[in-house]
Amino acid sequence: MTSTPTISVSNTQGKPITPILDVDSLRKVYNQGAANENLAIDSVTFSVNKGEFLCIVGPSGCGKTTLLRTISGLAKPTVGTVQFEGTTLTRVPDGLGVVFQDYARSLYPWMTNLQNVSLPLKARGMKKAERLRRTHEVLDSVGLSKVANQYPWQLSGGMQQRVAIARALSYKPDLLLMDEPFASVDAQTRFDLEDLILKVRAEYGVTVVLVTHDIDEAVYLSDRIVVLSKGPSHVREVVPVELGEREQLATRSSDGFLTLRNHLLELVMPR
């Protein structure tokens, strides 16, 4: 595995940790060689440890969505490698779940919530009884068991995004990638969803990488924050976050939170 000089990886016991995701010198150029050639990502290197909650923040237009598409295997890097559990990505791997920003576009309106959530299980050849059991279980853990047989478009935005989260969690991935998952919902719902994702993360023991432009959200959720420069992006800094147990009001008004927040703002704000 390639060592990443920018981040030295070791936990508090000093044992080396194998990263679940290893991004090495990733570069992404669109329309290479053409007149409208566009360098979206210059060179990005970071790794994600198992069990970690990592947020990627950066100024708008820094290529966050491109980065997420590339590290999930949906798009190929122009230069550099992405390794998931030790294997270089060529497509989306089995143990990876993706939640997209716009639930209205990512969910399938012709299927009920139940059918949406069980679709990846069907694709994995799971037997019907087991599939139904698992689907109800995961819908239950996002608080949607009552609306299983309704359609996504009959629900509020926050509830639809929870269907999308349930769908990505249904096959118990090792890593959950989320692209600005709470950007299209109102503030109150946003807080609820933040707490929900912390809850399911603990419940499923899943590693989470969340891309966001919201610094407060990144500080509230993460164990570590990767700060990107403005595009073409590179990693400006990797900020560890040690805030202990989270609670919306208390955490957001704590000194530790505010210090981190100011530090991150300085990094992200254009000077």
Binding site: W110, T112, K122, N149, Q150, D195, K199
Partner: protein, 309 residues
């Protein structure tokens, strides 16, 4: 932590029950119906329900009212007609009963409707399957695109002499003509609908590792289904027209043949009953189509209605 489920309230309205749900997923939808209790919702406030009921009633009255008025006008204006070309409606309806309901002419329905059914279903299937194949194979699509549009704009009846030469004057020729007409609107709409499916839906499919076949079956076809339905509907109109035309040329049976024969025998009242029969068949098939479409695409009409609120 708060109880997350209780924080947001769901939207009301759109009372889609699990019954409809079983018909939505073309792939394997029925398996879930009744698996859990249906999360039923109240169908909006009583006031709104009353308003929608009144609106629905108005629609029905308007839809039925105008045809009734026209029939009455036709009845009155033609009552004293002595023109052999425009016999009184009372006479036409009388003959209609004698010929098509209790009489011999109803035997003509069998060849007409069976040709229509086989030709239309066959042509539609060919249209959808070719649409999927052309969508999957962009190189073939680009190569065949001029040919497809050429055949699409070619008036199908012009092919009749060629089809007679190929298939003789039997049933095959009639079915082939109907199928030929049904293919193009279905094919082009299928292709167009599939190309219009949102990229994020494909990204989701890839992220869930759906196989290519499952992606077509569970994502692309349902996503394109509203437009496929539009193509099928256009294909149905064309098929009915071609059914009649195929029966009017070198044929020995069917409604079109009956109309032409009646006219040749100067049995103009009988001719009018045949035309009336065609109008009835067209109307019934169209209403059947719309009914099935609204059930199968309930998700589409339901989600669109919510958007418009």
């Amino acid at each position: 932590m708060r109880d997350l489920a209780s924080v947001e309230t769901q939207r009301t309205g759109a009372p889609l029950s699990g019954v409809i749900a079983s018909e939505i997923d073309i792939a394997e939808g029925a398996e879930y119906a009744g698996a859990t209790s249906t999360g039923s919702q109240p169908g909006g406030s009583p006031k709104r329900r009353k308003r929608t009921a009144r609106k629905a009633l108005m629609t029905v009255v308007l839809a039925i009212g105008l045809p009734i008025i026209l029939l009455v006008v036709w009845w009155i204006l033609s009552a004293n007609s002595h023109s052999p070309y425009f016999p009184p409606l009372s006479k036409i309806l009388d003959q209609f009963w004698k010929l098509w309901i209790i009489g011999p002419a109803k035997a003509q329905l069998v060849p007409s409707l069976s040709h229509l059914a086989i030709g239309y279903v066959g042509g539609s299937l060919i249209g959808i399957i070719s649409g999927v194949l052309l969508w999957r194979l962009p190189a073939v699509r680009r190569a065949t695109s001029p040919v497809v549009y050429f055949l699409y704009v070619l008036p199908a009846p012009a092919l009749l002499p060629a089809l007679i030469a190929i298939f003789g004057i039997g049933e095959m020729r009639q079915i082939a003509l109907i199928a030929f007409g049904a293919i193009w609107p279905t094919l082009l709409n299928t292709l167009d609908g599939m190309r219009g499916v949102d990229q994020v839906k494909f990204d989701s499919a890839k992220a869930m590792r759906l196989s290519p076949v499952r992606t077509v079956w569970s994502v692309v076809l349902p996503g394109a289904s509203p437009q496929i339905a539009a193509g099928l509907r256009a294909g149905l109109q064309v098929s009915i027209i071609l059914m009649v035309i195929s029966e009017m040329v070198a044929s020995t049976g069917g409604i079109g043949y009956f109309i032409l024969q009646s006219q040749a025998n100067l049995a103009l009242v009988a001719m009018w009953t045949g035309i009336l029969m065609l109008a009835i068949i067209g109307t019934v098939l169209n209403y059947l189509f719309v009914g099935v479409e609204h059930r199968v695409l309930a998700w589409f009409y339901g989600s669109r209605a919510l958007e418009g609120r």
